[in-house]
């Protein structure tokens, strides 16, 4: 028993356990659930029933079994590779996106720490800079898949993806500058704690969305563009270049791309919640001074999850409501409108802090 506690208190073991917890109990399940959620919700928008046929015996679970059916199906599909493709790059490309999507959960806190124990895989000093690094890694997935597939559609998709993701990376960083200034840190835990203070006594929490409304809109737009989902899904371009950069993939590798997309959706929602909606902090909970510690933690995880699910839903709603941009329109929007706006946001925030604070 003592040995066990000793092993558990080694930081590395803790980190590994946290990673397993976060990935296996939060990111991946939510990502897979999203595949069903998207199909069901889009069906509701479009006056359809949605998936409801997969069954065991007579049990369908309202379509829940489709997740298992999809997974099984893609495992048993042949893993095809087009003639003339670059074998090595073709085989590894699908996993860049998945790794990047999952890795960004590393810096997201789920509840307030108990003593030294943090409900966060790694509370590192660079914090959000890590996110920028990781999301730019996911560009490789699209680019390598597009370049190695030996297909013109995939090539077009790959070039679109690289151009789009690199340019949106630029002002995704700029959009957060204001946030760094307001909370005075790039460390995620400090930004989250900064959002637990209030204006006017205990009236309005200092959430990122209230201190940086423009920054929120810009950052969310940039993140959605990073996931390459509608309305920014020109790299996939299902109507003109069929499926874009992952056109030639099949079976589990194709699923890896899809799963990466959904995990990215979840991580977008988690990041938005953490940076702009108070993270795990339940607003006005400090007024209830006698709240037991364990209940506070549970409420915090609950609040966090509710916001994450809300933003996942919001992205689905967005995708099925609006048409998509053409590739050059995406770029024009990024460089001509959002980049100047994020610069303005940065300068204005700096000026306000300098003058009033």
């Amino acid at each position: 028993m003592d040995l066990l506690i000793e092993i558990l208190s080694i930081p590395l073991v803790q980190a590994i356990l946290k990673i397993v917890f976060v990935i296996l109990l939060f990111a991946m399940p939510l990502g897979t659930l999203m595949t069903l959620m998207e199909r069901k919700w889009s069906a509701m928008i479009q006056d359809r029933v949605g998936p409801n046929r997969a069954n065991v015996g007579n049990y369908t679970g309202r379509g829940l079994l489709h997740i298992a059916a999809d997974g099984l199906k893609s495992i048993f599909k042949e893993d095809t590779m087009p003639e003339g493709s670059d074998r090595f790059l073709y085989l590894i490309a699908p996993f860049f996106g998945l790794i990047a999507g999952v890795a960004s959960f590393a810096i997201i806190p789920f509840a307030s720490p108990i003593g030294d124990f943090k409900f966060q895989v790694a509370d590192i000093e660079p914090g959000l800079l890590f996110i920028f690094a990781i999301t730019s890694l996911s560009v490789y997935g699209a680019v390598l898949a597009g370049a190695s597939s030996n297909s013109k559609y995939a090539l077009l998709g790959g070039t679109r993806a690289s151009a789009q993701m690199l340019s949106y990376e630029v002002f995704m960083g700029l959009a957060l500058m204001g946030l760094f200034m307001v909370y005075g840190s790039t460390r995620v835990s400090e930004i989250v704690d900064g959002q637990n203070t209030y204006w006017f006594g205990s009236l309005i929490p200092k959430w990122g969305v209230f201190t940086q409304p423009l920054g929120f809109v810009l950052f969310f737009t940039a993140l959605v563009a990073e996931t390459k989902r509608a309305p920014f899904d020109a790299p996939e371009g299902e109507s003109e270049i069929v499926a874009g950069y992952f056109l030639e993939y099949s079976g589990m590798r194709w699923s890896a791309f899809m799963l990466a997309e959904y995990v990215a959706v979840v991580s977008v929602a988690a990041l938005t919640t953490t940076l702009f909606f108070g993270g795990y902090h339940v607003p006005w909970l400090h007024l209830w001074t006698s709240a037991p510690e364990w209940l506070v933690r549970i409420l915090q995880v609950l609040k966090f999850s509710v916001f994450v699910v809300f933003f996942c839903w919001f992205q689905i709603q967005l995708r099925w409501t609006v048409p998509k941009f053409r590739f050059d329109q995406t770029m024009a929007l990024g460089w001509k409108k959002l980049l100047p706006l994020s610069l303005v946001n940065t300068v204005a925030t700096a000026a306000i802090i300098l003058i009033f604070v």
């Binding site: 889009s42 928008i45 479009q46 006056d47 359809r48 003339g84 013109k152 559609y153 077009l156 509608a230 309305p231 899904d233 020109a234 371009g237 299902e238 109507s239 003109e240 270049i241 069929v242 099925w320 409501t321 609006v322 048409p323 998509k324 941009f325 053409r326 590739f327 050059d328 329109q329």
Partner: protein, 409 residues
């Protein structure tokens, strides 16, 4: 942009896999099997980056030999073939062909038959336009609207089923009348369903027509000037979007269209957005035409009774020898329109659907020729797409509403 076609050897050479990257022009095949090519057609597109520098359309993948097949059939046996021409508005083809043969005979259908033809024809036009509108919305990523329009189309196809017994393969008109009359209570049901269609139209109008992204995607995309449109031989919504108010129903009124009040919407620049707006307005006009026609619906027969044109009444067939012989001759030898030729055009979903029929007085047609409206549109695809981006091919192609069955015959 230079619109001269590339020479064919260059074309072949471009299709070969090459390691020569000194040229920035890449040949990319769009179709024949491609999600946006509803119907089957192939566009060999030459792109410089994403910019289209040349395009060669290739048609004929759905050629079934409709015209030749017709020559080996009896006159009446051609009607089911016409269902398969423009398969989203089969009734308009039925009507066009039957009216061409009626012109040969020199007969007219009874008034009630004409009014029901107008109603059914306009229902078909609405289904055609709804399909096209939905498809063009889907092409720019608004998949939801596609299903909403399809839902509205479903209401109407159920009506078509009530009257003709089939949703697509209607085979409904006959020479000098229609096969079936409207069923009891049809007009009330019609009004109810039209109201539902109107609701869908309002919903889509609110959410799509004013959508900034949608407008960005279709405005100034694939414009074609009035002169070009006329010289390519455009008809229908495509021509009207370019600003020419040509509508066969108005400029050469057939059936009872001259008694009905409707407007011919026209666009200004002939881009994809104009075509979208023209089609939206035409759906509304068609609804108003249907409402007027059902108000004016006369009572009476739906089939004439002239000898040699119509099958004799069953009472005649079983009751006297003349009727029996008449019936026998018509069944064995088929309809025998007098020798001569006739051309009759109706306003189809895509434009002027013209049937040119030649008879030598026997039971088999000598020639049945269809003037497909979308043939001209596909021919003009290079003109409309060159200078735009690859992603623009899809909305442009969606807006011309190519129907393979009609194009390739």
């Amino acid at each position: 942009m230079d619109n001269a076609p590339l020479d064919i050897q260059q074309h072949e050479a471009n299709l070969q896999p090459t390691n020569d990257f000194s040229s920035s022009v890449m040949a990319i095949e769009i179709g024949p099997s491609h999600p946006a090519m509803h119907g089957i057609v192939r566009f060999t597109t030459y792109v410089d980056g994403e910019l289209i520098v040349d395009m060669i359309p290739e048609i004929g993948y759905l050629h079934r030999g409709f015209e030749k097949e017709s020559e080996n059939s009896k006159w009446i046996q051609v009607i089911p073939y016409t269902d398969r021409l423009n398969y989203v508005s089969p009734l308009l083809n039925n009507i066009g062909y039957s009216m061409a043969v009626e012109k040969l005979y020199g007969v007219e259908a009874p008034r009630r038959a004409e009014f029901t033809r107008v109603i059914m024809g306009e229902i078909s036009r609405i289904t055609d336009h709804l399909t096209c509108l939905g498809a063009s919305a889907m092409e720019v990523g608004a998949f939801t609207f596609f299903l909403w329009f399809i839902k509205a189309r479903e209401y109407l196809w159920e009506l078509v089923e009530q009257v003709t017994g089939a949703r697509l393969t209607t085979n409904w008109t006959r020479f000098g009348g229609n096969a079936t009359d409207l069923p009891d209570g049809f007009l009330d049901d019609l009004q109810e369903r039209l109201d539902k269609v109107k609701e869908v139209m309002v919903e889509c109008d609110r959410l799509l027509t004013k959508n900034k992204i949608f407008i960005d995607r279709v405005k100034d995309i694939g414009p074609i000037s009035k002169e070009d449109a006329l010289s390519f031989g455009f008809t229908g919504p495509m021509l009207r979007a370019s600003g020419v108010p040509y509508d066969v129903r108005r400029s050469d009124p057939y059936s009872v269209y001259d008694e009905l009040d409707f407007e011919v919407p026209v666009g200004t620049v002939g881009d994809c957005f104009d075509r979208y707006l023209v089609r939206m307005e035409e759906v509304r006009q068609s609804i108003s035409i249907i409402e007027q026609a059902s108000d004016k619906m006369p009572v009476g027969p739906i089939m004439g009774s002239e000898r040699g044109v119509h099958y004799p009444d069953k009472k005649e067939v079983y009751g006297n020898i003349e009727g029996l012989i008449d019936h026998f001759k018509m069944v064995m030898e088929g309809h025998r329109p007098p020798a001569g030729e006739a051309y009759h055009a109706v306003e189809g979903g895509n434009g002027e659907v013209g049937f040119y029929v030649v008879s030598d007085g026997s039971g088999d047609p000598v020639r049945v020729r269809l003037r497909p409206p979308c043939f001209n549109f596909v021919e003009a695809m290079p003109k409309m797409t060159i200078g735009h981006y690859v992603a623009d091919i899809v909305p442009i192609f969606g807006s011309i509403n190519m129907i393979g069955g009609e194009l390739d015959r």
